[in-house]
């Protein structure tokens, strides 16, 4: 079976481990690469100690084969759905799985920029976020998250340019509305399989992913 690369959500204290356990337990027979992203679990904070939306792409890129025969299925959770989408857009994925990962909350740029200003102010006022990063465990700076992909237009453009098969798993906690979900998912040229799940937890999601792959959905 194709290898699977998981990009867990930003600020997930469990990191990648629970995803690997759940996917292997659900019957994924290929390799599961589910790293603790920088600042999570066993992986220290990045040089400079800050976090931005696309950074996980750079953290995993050296491990992602560029040749077509070895491209993994890439699964992105929550905010890191955008990172998974970038890898798929750039030809580094054989299939794309998004778990509450279509982007959002979608809002006008003025609102998005105001929210980002507030996020930066909050980081500056949090001594644990600007002080030395811990050697391990969840970096407290991640409590402030990263600025999400908040443009529905860009999410739709990315979807329209994505050529690999796509599985969209949406839980009640998703930041997008059903109407937004359908609008973005409807832009994938080959269509997307959209499944509503009870939660975005690894144990709830893993059987859907394995079933989708086993059904031969990805080419």
């Amino acid at each position: 079976m194709t290898p699977l690369l998981v990009l867990h959500d930003v600020g997930d204290p469990g990191g990648g481990g629970p995803w690997r356990v759940a996917l292997e337990g659900a019957g994924w027979s290929g390799a599961v690469y589910a790293p603790d992203l920088p600042g999570h679990g066993a992986t220290p904070a990045p040089v400079g100690g800050s976090y931005e939306l696309g950074d996980p792409v750079l953290a995993v890129l050296p491990s992602v084969p560029a040749d077509a025969d070895h491209r993994p299925v890439v699964l992105g959770v929550g905010t890191n759905g955008w990172c998974a989408s970038i890898l798929a857009l750039g030809g580094r994925a054989s299939a794309l799985v998004l778990v509450d990962g279509l982007g959002g909350p979608f809002r006008p740029q003025a609102e998005a920029m105001a929210a980002e200003r507030e996020r930066i102010r909050a980081i500056a006022d949090d001594p644990t976020a600007v002080g030395p990063a811990p050697a391990g465990g969840l970096d407290p700076r991640l409590r402030h998250g990263v600025s999400p992909m908040g443009s529905r237009a860009v999410a739709e453009r990315a979807a329209a340019a994505t050529s690999v098969p796509v599985l969209v798993l949406e839980s009640p906690a998703s930041p997008v509305t059903p109407e937004e979900r359908d609008a973005v998912a409807g832009r994938y040229p080959a269509g997307a399989t959209v499944v509503e799940v009870e939660s975005a937890d690894p144990d709830a999601v893993a059987p859907c992913v394995v079933s989708w792959i086993s059904s031969g959905r990805p080419a």
Binding site: G48, G90, G91, M113, I120, V154
Partner: protein, 320 residues
């Protein structure tokens, strides 16, 4: 803060072995003080002029430059009654490195915390990318910024902020570029002269003495030659949602008085038409804009006298 070292290995006679030949140009005077500030999980090199008790002004350099670009006008700004502090932004000069090219927010945080460290409110003078940073910091912390001087830093042409036609191809190229930066050491250049020539080709109007000065302080010795101090990671980009609407929203958040100076001469890196510039300024309602004749993108290097005079008149009008 510590005293500056007396010998610079990249200066003629400095002992580094990679010195530029003596061109006869008189270099600007050294900063009064220099040191490092630890904040926001990085270490910033700061260059410092004027009385430490004077109201602070932070000068913010542009992309791939460094704090020594202010050596020319900083003493004149200090003479107006300010303490002038010019950091090397993270990923530049002697400051800390980057883990990605998405350094905008982290750099703004650095500047906001530096302003708090110095004692706000501060004046901000920024060139190009640094001008954008100065406006952004003023929008994030209006209570910290007294005024902003923006030197040709109002952002790229509108067309440059349009989304690409072929997003998949652009993304593939960006990932390939990121891989190159992640997998290779910085390029080693054989001589300071070759680096001056490279900058001359890009910054076509920059005076020769400034080309030499920026290379002298923007490089460090490496095995076989010199490397730029600027972190190659700074150039790594990935698809994002930033567009003209977002830029306008950033500018509209600024409530501090703004003096925007642009050069009157055509130059690389300053390619907005007058109409585009006028439209851009409508989103900066607190700005007054003056054109500095006889200058291009590096307004303050080509016409330092005019820039200092404009700043002096500006602060007389809006207060120190």
């Amino acid at each position: 803060m510590v005293a500056l070292p007396q010998r610079d290995p990249l200066k003629p006679g400095g002992g580094g072995g990679w010195a530029l030949p003596d061109s006869g140009a008189v270099p600007p005077p050294e900063p009064d003080r220099s040191g490092f500030v630890e904040l926001n999980r990085t270490r910033l090199r700061v260059w410092d002029w004027g009385s430490p008790s004077a109201p602070p002004v932070i000068c913010v350099h542009g992309a791939y430059d460094h704090g020594r670009m202010w050596d020319g006008i900083a003493p004149d700004l200090a003479a107006l009654g300010y303490r002038v502090v010019a950091p090397d932004l993270r990923g530049h000069g002697d400051s800390g490195r980057l883990s990605s090219g998405a350094a905008w927010a982290a750099s703004a945080l650095d500047l906001g915390l530096l302003a708090r460290h110095l004692g706000p409110p501060v004046g901000l003078v920024g060139h190009s990318f640094g001008g954008g940073q100065a406006l952004y910091v003023a929008g994030v912390w209006p209570e910290v910024v007294r005024w902003v001087v923006n030197l040709d830093g109002l952002g790229p042409r509108p067309a440059a902020l349009n989304p690409p036609d072929d997003l998949a191809a652009v993304t593939a190229d960006l990932l390939a570029g990121a891989e190159r930066v992640l997998s290779r050491p910085p390029r080693v250049h054989p001589s300071a002269e070759s680096l001056v020539a490279r900058r001359r080709a890009v910054n076509v109007r920059m005076p020769e003495e400034w080309l030499e000065h920026l290379v002298r302080h923007g490089t460090r010795p490496a095995e076989g030659g010199l490397v730029w101090k600027a972190d190659p990671m700074f150039g790594v980009g990935l698809p994002a949602a930033f567009d003209l609407e977002a830029l306008h929203a950033e500018h509209e958040a600024v409530v501090a008085p703004v003096l925007a100076l642009t050069g009157g001469e055509h130059d690389t890196w300053s390619e907005m038409t007058p109409e585009e510039l006028e439209q851009r300024l409508t989103h900066l309602p607190t700005a007054r804009h003056h054109v500095v004749e006889g200058a291009g993108h590096y307004v303050h290097l080509e016409r330092p006298d005019a820039v200092v005079a404009e700043i002096a008149a500006f602060v007389r009008e809006v207060g120190p």
